[in-house]
Symmetry: C2
Subunit: 240 residues, 2 copies
């Protein structure tokens, strides 16, 4: 398998390229505008044909890059059916399968960060976007997010995978770009404790800007990134 993880320096956002070395078919996950040239030259060098541009969630940068990549290939832009975008070529549902070459990707609907957030599952790897990061739970989008759904997606879907499963997130956190399900389970009290869900939600309520602030942020053009630091850290104990 051809596999690349690309990190955008300042934002820490992560993009992935997966390629089948036999049929030379490839997919790209969450591309960003600054990576389009790198991705195109990498695929040209390796003789890879892009089949799908996959979005784990809708993000302005993703959309721009997806359209740029599509101009140079026959790739389809793909996201969850609840994603609001005029540029989608294919809408996904939970359980869908995507094929490229001899490889298969499975779609797991993991709403929470946004209603359209999905995780792509390939072999023993999960591409979790903003839902699950290397240091624990991801963030909720300030307007479209839902902490309760995020908790459910992580606790009842993602953390039920075998411990050896690798999590490749959509964003670097505390310098880390990769983790195993086993390590996440071991270090996140929220998810291995029966009171964890309540504590998680209380932490979110306390740390997120209140609704009035959120409404205001809509008008003042505050971007998603501005609220990312409101995410409660993984060190908050469920028993606190």
């Amino acid at each position: 398998m051809i596999f690349r993880q690309l990190c955008t320096p300042r934002s820490g956002l992560l993009t992935y390229l997966l390629g089948d070395p036999v049929t030379r078919e490839a997919v790209v996950l969450d591309p960003l505008p600054t990576q389009v040239e790198t991705l195109l030259s990498f695929m040209a060098e390796r003789g890879l044909a892009l089949r799908y541009i996959l979005e784990t969630h809708m993000h302005e940068g993703h959309q721009e890059a997806a359209l740029a990549l599509k101009q140079h290939s026959e790739a389809r832009i793909v996201a969850h059916e609840s994603a609001k975008s005029a540029h989608l070529d294919m809408c996904l549902r939970d359980g869908d399968l995507l094929y490229f070459g001899e490889e298969t990707l499975r779609v797991i609907h993991t709403p929470g960060h946004t209603p359209c957030a999905v995780t792509y599952w390939w072999e023993d790897r999960l591409f979790t976007g903003e839902t699950l990061l290397a240091t624990g739970a991801g963030r909720c989008h300030p307007r479209a997010g839902d902490p309760q759904k995020l908790y459910h997606s992580i606790a009842s879907r993602l953390l039920t995978f075998p411990g050896e499963t690798l999590v490749y997130p959509g964003r670097e956190s505390k310098g880390r770009r990769l983790v195993s399900i086993e390590e996440l389970r071991r270090h996140n009290n929220w998810f291995n404790n029966r009171r964890g869900g309540q504590v998680f939600l209380r932490a979110y309520q306390r740390l997120l800007p209140d609704k009035a602030v959120k409404e205001e942020s809509n008008n003042t053009g505050v971007q998603e990134d501005d609220v990312h630091h409101y995410m409660p850290g993984r060190d908050v104990s469920a028993s606190s």
Copy 2:
């Protein structure tokens, strides 16, 4: 691929099982006596036939477990040709290939922890034993180790792999059991700095017990584990 990582609670030592799901052939890396029953029942449940018992280095516990596993299978005990053991069925050299089912493991001789230390390379994963841990350089064996060779094995062999390559060490360190080459390169000044080798060796000299103490430890039966905390941490800057 069937893949399991087993951790022995107090020592933090890690054992691996790799199995080919088609031919049902398997290998075990660095087994320990406490895991023999778990490994045997796992293989029986999954209908796996053990082909090789692989040692990344010689360790008393490994040998005992290897012999116990061999009693229940036709597996061969395999280690580097410089390993001192009467129980080896096959001696390895750098560059050797090992096959189980349709899978291939490559042998990389990485002396330093001991002269016989090897890394097994499978797909995009390296099983590094005590040579390279999830938080940085491994330790030298108090008598048989050689810090200069350890540095060379890590800097000139292992860290030259693509950044996405996964490192599965033989021991948990700071709660971590897995890392990527990219993360190791980013967080270990010793290996991305031209003066790093000298600083690494000085740190080792300072932290290791002196020769007299080592000789004494031979006589008093001090075990390898007793000197593991002399390992310099990854936070020591190469510029210090």
